[in-house]
């Protein structure tokens, strides 16, 4: 199996939305080895989506940089693809057209596009809606189209921003397993944001916890579990409990500046 994955190096990453807004996060450092599935968890508003946008190249950092195998990310590319928190589908297109839209920007033959799109649609179990307009789909179905639209690109790095939050528990569980097994099979990296501790443990090789304002990575935990993972396994449950405890610890985290100010 060829490793398509990439080493991600985040160096001194600082971001603020404008001169008048505060710093979103300050001097974040992180390394993720090729093929790793990395979970980012943290309270709402601590800058997880912003970090993912920078990794995707759609947002520029104020300071610092992100390197993929040593090359700096400065713009979007089909090699690092993000699935956003909302589906943002193109409402004038069918499911098939939406899933294939990224491939239609590249140099793929019609035949290749058709094959890959069919496979991706099958994966998210939307075959019977393939020719439906996406406006006729439920929120969860739309989210699955967005997932297929990202997966079909077969990127080196897949960024997922709370990908399954709109789905029912059954679909969520099966897609968590599917996405992880595809990533492992193809060897690409995943960085995913989640509010769901279970999701971090089922899908991740490692979890980092962001907290504080400005945010930063305050804890990390290796999720060293064999595949396939089942949420009822004792080992999974044990790690879940540990991650929960670490997360709660992080919730009590106070940023260094305010600590010094108080002293």
């Amino acid at each position: 199996m060829a490793i398509r994955g990439t080493e991600i190096k985040i160096q001194g990453l600082t971001h603020r939305y404008g001169s008048r807004s505060g710093v979103t996060f300050n001097r974040v450092d992180l390394v993720s080895p090729p093929g790793e599935a990395l979970a980012i968890i943290g309270r709402s508003g601590c800058g997880k989506s912003t970090l993912l946008h920078i990794l995707a190249g759609v947002l520029k950092p104020t300071e610092g940089k992100v390197l993929l195998n040593g090359t700096e990310i400065t713009a979007p590319s089909p090699r690092w693809v993000m699935m956003f928190q909302a589906p943002h589908l193109f409402p004038w297109m069918t499911v098939t057209q939406n899933v294939g839209v990224g491939l239609s920007f590249g140099r793929w033959s019609k035949q290749e596009i058709a094959e890959r799109v069919t496979e991706a649609i099958k994966l998210v179990e939307l075959q019977e809606f393939a020719t439906a307009n996406v406006q006729d789909l439920s929120g969860g179905q739309q989210q699955r189209v967005a997932l297929a639209r990202s997966l079909v690109m077969e990127p080196e790095l897949l960024l997922l921003d709370e990908p399954f939050s709109a789905l029912d528990a059954f679909t969520r569980a099966s897609l968590q397993k599917d996405v992880r097994s595809i990533a492992k099979r193809k060897g690409f990296n995943i960085v995913f944001v989640t509010h769901d501790i279970d999701e971090a443990v089922i899908m991740g090789d490692r979890a980092v916890i962001m907290a504080g304002s400005p945010g930063n990575i305050v804890h990390e935990l290796d999720i060293d579990l064999p595949d396939p993972r089942d949420r009822h396994d004792d080992a999974v449950q044990a790690l879940r409990t540990r991650l929960m405890a670490t997360f709660q610890e992080a919730a009590n985290y106070t940023k260094p500046q305010s600590a010094t100010l108080a002293a």
């Binding site: 759609v58 979007p76 089909p78 693809v81 956003f84 990224g102 920007f105 307009n133 406006q135 690109m153």
Partner: protein
């Protein structure tokens, strides 16, 4: 077809009558019949009043009789060909200029800020008031008429395009760029399908204005087209020909507008 047949066979004449298409045709036929009756009454009054007897040919029957005459002489065909060419060229120019400028207005804030006032100002000038200037600037009458149509039609297209673009969800651009779209793809795969409905709606308005402008524009100079035919009929006192041409303008305008309505409905992806 088969649906209509089976319902009719089931004794469903009533149901067929309630079919929306049938109902629409019914309404249209009724409306036109009322119009024809009023027109006949007016024609009857004209004939019976000695002071207006000279204008009797304005009536419905003489007008209807004029159609085959005009058609055999090729006057209707020639007038439509000449006016159609000017209309088509004028609209084409309006589209080629209006759509890109509209996209710029919708996409580039400083451009919109700079151009809004001058455009709103020029837009309010009646297209026909450009006539003397157009005649000076363009060597041919055809050229000046096409210019008048273009300047009348460009504003609805431009502003509809800009308004359409203003409604475009910026997230679509983010998604497209994220999946590797180049500016060309953004234009052809995102902007154009997203705003086609608005652009075609603008074209419908533009067609309406252009269709109004073309007749008076052809009163001057040219010796072909719908406007010329009307002027010619009036000068030769062939009032039946005059009304027949007027009716032709109405019918063709209605037909062109209907085509655009169909295109607009097809290009719409909005729900509800």
């Amino acid at each position: 077809m088969s649906v209509a047949v089976t319902t009719a066979q089931e004794g469903g004449i009533c149901r067929l009558m309630k079919h929306p298409v049938v109902q629409n045709i019914g309404w249209a036929a009724g409306g036109i019949a009322i119009l024809a009756i009023l027109w006949s009454i007016a024609g009857y009054l004209l004939v019976n009043d000695p002071s207006t007897k000279n204008f009797a040919k304005f009536g419905l029957v003489p007008t209807l009789k004029a159609f085959p005459e005009l058609w055999e002489m090729g006057k209707i065909q020639n007038a439509l060909a000449a006016s159609g060419y000017r209309l088509g060229m004028g609209l084409l120019i309006a589209i080629v200029i209006g759509v890109p400028i509209g996209i710029l207005m919708g996409r580039v804030k400083w451009f919109r800020d700079y151009t809004n006032s001058p455009f709103q100002f020029v837009r309010m000038i009646s297209p026909l008031s450009w006539m003397p200037i157009a005649v000076l600037v363009f060597a041919t009458w055809n050229g000046s008429i096409i210019f008048l149509i273009a300047i009348a039609a460009v504003w609805p297209i431009m502003f509809a395009t800009a308004a359409g673009l203003a409604k475009v969800d910026p997230n679509w651009f983010k998604v497209a760029r994220n999946l590797g779209a180049r500016p060309w793809h953004i234009l052809t795969k995102v902007i154009m399908p997203a705003i086609s409905f608005d652009v075609f709606s603008g074209m419908r308005l533009a067609l309406g204005v252009a269709w109004i402008v073309i007749v008076p524009a052809e009163y001057l100079g040219v010796t072909s087209g719908l406007g010329y035919s009307i002027k010619d009929a009036r000068e030769t006192l062939s009032y039946d020909h005059l009304t027949a041409m007027v009716v032709t303008i109405g019918i063709v305008g209605y037909f062109l507008d209907s085509i655009l309505v169909v295109i607009i409905n097809r290009s719409s992806w909005h729900r509800g």
